[in-house]
């Protein structure tokens, strides 16, 4: 038994199998006791927000462009799908079409964004968020039902209706895993590397033939599509969308999740989402919870900025890197000692 655990490959496989098994049976476990459904619901929200935060991370973390208007893309994804579905378009096409709209909207912002300096980009994205929210409140022709919001029918995938949390769970879990896999594939691709290079040094990236603007635009569009996709999932999980659900607070929330977990790391946003959700759930019972929530976002963000700029995962990977280097230096010293 001990031997098996020593073999790294086998150990990893065992850990993976156990994790997958646990994730698969989670809904079964949670639906078996009374308050379980509540926790399952919370977990579902974690999946959705984690996708949004992961998407945001592609833009802010991997390509170094701040986005304080994440809620705008989130809401376009949500409203887009719901409105198209209400027109009688099958869900799957509605989603694809909505993602195209988000992509186009993302592209519209990406082109000027690639030119702007960091602080101006912060202001500009904030402005985009405000404009979109304003349009949701007073929509042309009332297609968003303005402040009354819209109720959303159960998600209908090829005739398969997903209405209960336990049913949505698998769908959302798979979506999140796919998004994480995609992000992983993206950052390990030439395109992804070029984005990161452009983030770290515009000059050097340019000198090696990286078209900095192009890659910033690619990162922004990909990021917006993922945030929009999370918006679609949110609409069907929440079953109700209104301008309030997409106010500036959501943008800040995504930002906090990404930053706390560690921007520019694969699992950082997921980790941040889990941590922020825990804070949210703990504060939920308090009177004036919204304010305490806002206060805690603020404190979390400030603490991250002051003490750990790369978030929780940044801290972990930093320790890892230091260990590798220490080991290498020790080896070298030993080699030199033997040599002399």
């Amino acid at each position: 038994m001990k031997k098996i655990f020593k073999n790294k490959k086998i150990r990893n496989i065992i850990i993976m199998v156990v994790t997958i098994a646990l994730l698969m049976v989670t809904p079964v476990i949670f639906t078996s006791f009374r308050s379980g459904n509540y926790y399952l619901n919370v977990i579902n929200y974690v999946f959705v927000y984690a996708i949004a935060a992961t998407g945001l991370n592609i833009m802010t973390g991997y390509s170094g462009q701040i986005n304080l208007g994440g809620a705008a893309y989130f809401s376009v994804g949500a409203y887009g799908t719901v409105i198209l579905c209400n027109l009688g378009i099958p869900t799957i096409f509605a989603v694809l079409l909505a993602m195209l709209i988000v992509a186009f909207f993302g592209f519209l912002t990406a082109v000027p964004a690639a030119k702007l300096k960091y602080h101006f980009l912060a202001l500009a994205t904030m402005a985009v968020g405000e404009i979109v929210n304003n349009i949701l409140i007073v929509s042309p022709g009332g297609i968003t039902n303005d402040t009354h919001g819209m109720f959303v029918k159960a998600l209908d995938l090829f005739g398969l209706k997903l209405s209960k949390d336990s049913q949505l769970y698998y769908f959302l879990l798979i979506s999140m895993v796919l998004c994480l896999l995609f992000t992983f594939a993206f950052i390990k691709s030439h395109t992804g590397r070029a984005c990161i290079a452009a983030r770290d040094s515009v000059d050097a990236a340019g000198a090696f033939g990286v078209d900095v603007k192009k890659y910033k635009i690619i990162a922004t569009v990909v990021s917006c599509i993922m945030i929009g996709f999370a918006g679609f999932l949110f609409a069907y999980l929440n079953r109700y969308i209104s301008p309030d659900t997409f106010a500036a607070g959501k943008s800040t929330m995504f930002m906090s999740m990404t930053m706390l977990g560690g921007s520019g790391t694969l699992f950082g946003p997921l980790l941040g989402t889990i941590l922020i959700t825990i804070i949210m759930e703990v504060l939920r019972g308090l009177p004036g919870a919204g304010l305490y929530l806002q206060l805690s976002y603020g404190l979390v963000l400030l603490a991250v900025m002051m003490f750990m700029p790369f978030g929780v995962s940044g801290l972990i990977s930093n320790i890892k890197t230091k260990r590798i280097i220490k080991k290498k230096r020790m080896e070298e010293m030993e080699k030199n000692n033997v040599g002399s």
Partner: protein
């Protein structure tokens, strides 16, 4: 191979480059030296496309590359390192070199992001080549380490490896030995000779005279934006003008 003829450049009334011509011969290590503020780095930046000269022509193997943008220059076979290190600090050493090989990738977005068979094949080849380059500068053990955690000397070496990534004909090195200790400098000289033997021409801008004298075959001396002398290390070491410029310039 590289020829700069009669370059002029004026910065807000300051004549930084005032009729400089240099010629780098194929397969040599050529150095460009001069006192502080002589215009070496400016000339270097003209070659690298950062500045466009007011007049004058830069050619590479007879092709006019005057005023080309930095990201175009590398397509002509010129890559560079920086005086102030500009690595991709958040990426691993290997990834830095891979970005250096960026122009070799001819894949469309979907082949690339969805890791098709073609992409994986290419990725495997480029990674092997990148590891070779890291081995060449002696950083193969640090392939997975984040660039920002490398030591100063190692970062300079990584810049060279990255610059070699795009298979350049000409390698421009901007003070590669700055901040290195004696052992690292000697190492660097050996490595530069190996690179030269691979058929890559090298142009160095350097402060450190011992390094230049050790490694360079031809030397251009520039002073106050003008050509001052040209010759082999021995000739330069005995050149009266050069000695005067260094001693008389006051810095």
């Amino acid at each position: 191979m590289l020829e700069v003829s009669h370059a002029f450049l004026n910065f807000n009334g300051l004549q930084a480059i005032n009729d400089v011509s240099i010629k780098v011969n194929d397969g040599t290590i050529t150095a460009m030296i001069g006192p502080n503020g002589a215009g070496k780095t400016t000339l270097f930046n003209i070659i690298a496309g950062v500045y466009k000269p007011d007049s004058g022509v830069v050619t590479l193997d007879g092709v006019d590359i005057t005023g080309k943008k930095p990201f175009e220059i590398c397509n002509y076979g010129i890559t560079r390192t920086y005086q102030v290190i500009k690595l991709f600090t958040g990426m691993s050493a290997l990834d830095n070199v891979l970005v250096g090989m960026h122009i070799n990738y001819k894949l469309n977005f979907f082949q690339d992001v969805f890791h098709t068979k073609k992409m994986r094949q290419l990725e495997k080849e480029t990674k092997e080549r990148a590891m070779e380059l890291l081995r060449l500068v002696g950083l193969e053990d640090y392939a997975g380490v984040t660039a920002s955690s490398l030591s100063y000397g190692q970062q300079r070496l990584l810049e060279i490896a990255r610059a070699l990534g795009s298979n350049p004909k000409l390698l421009l090195l901007d003070e590669p030995a700055a901040g290195m200790n004696l052992k690292e400098k000697n190492d660097l000289c050996d490595r530069l000779r190996i690179i030269k033997n691979m058929g890559i021409t090298i142009l160095i801008v350097e402060h450190d005279m011992s390094l230049v004298m050790n490694v360079a075959e031809e030397i251009f001396v520039i002073n106050s934006g003008k050509n001052l002398a040209y010759g082999t290390p021995d000739e330069i070491a005995n050149n009266k003008d050069v000695i005067e410029a260094y001693l008389g310039s006051g810095d």
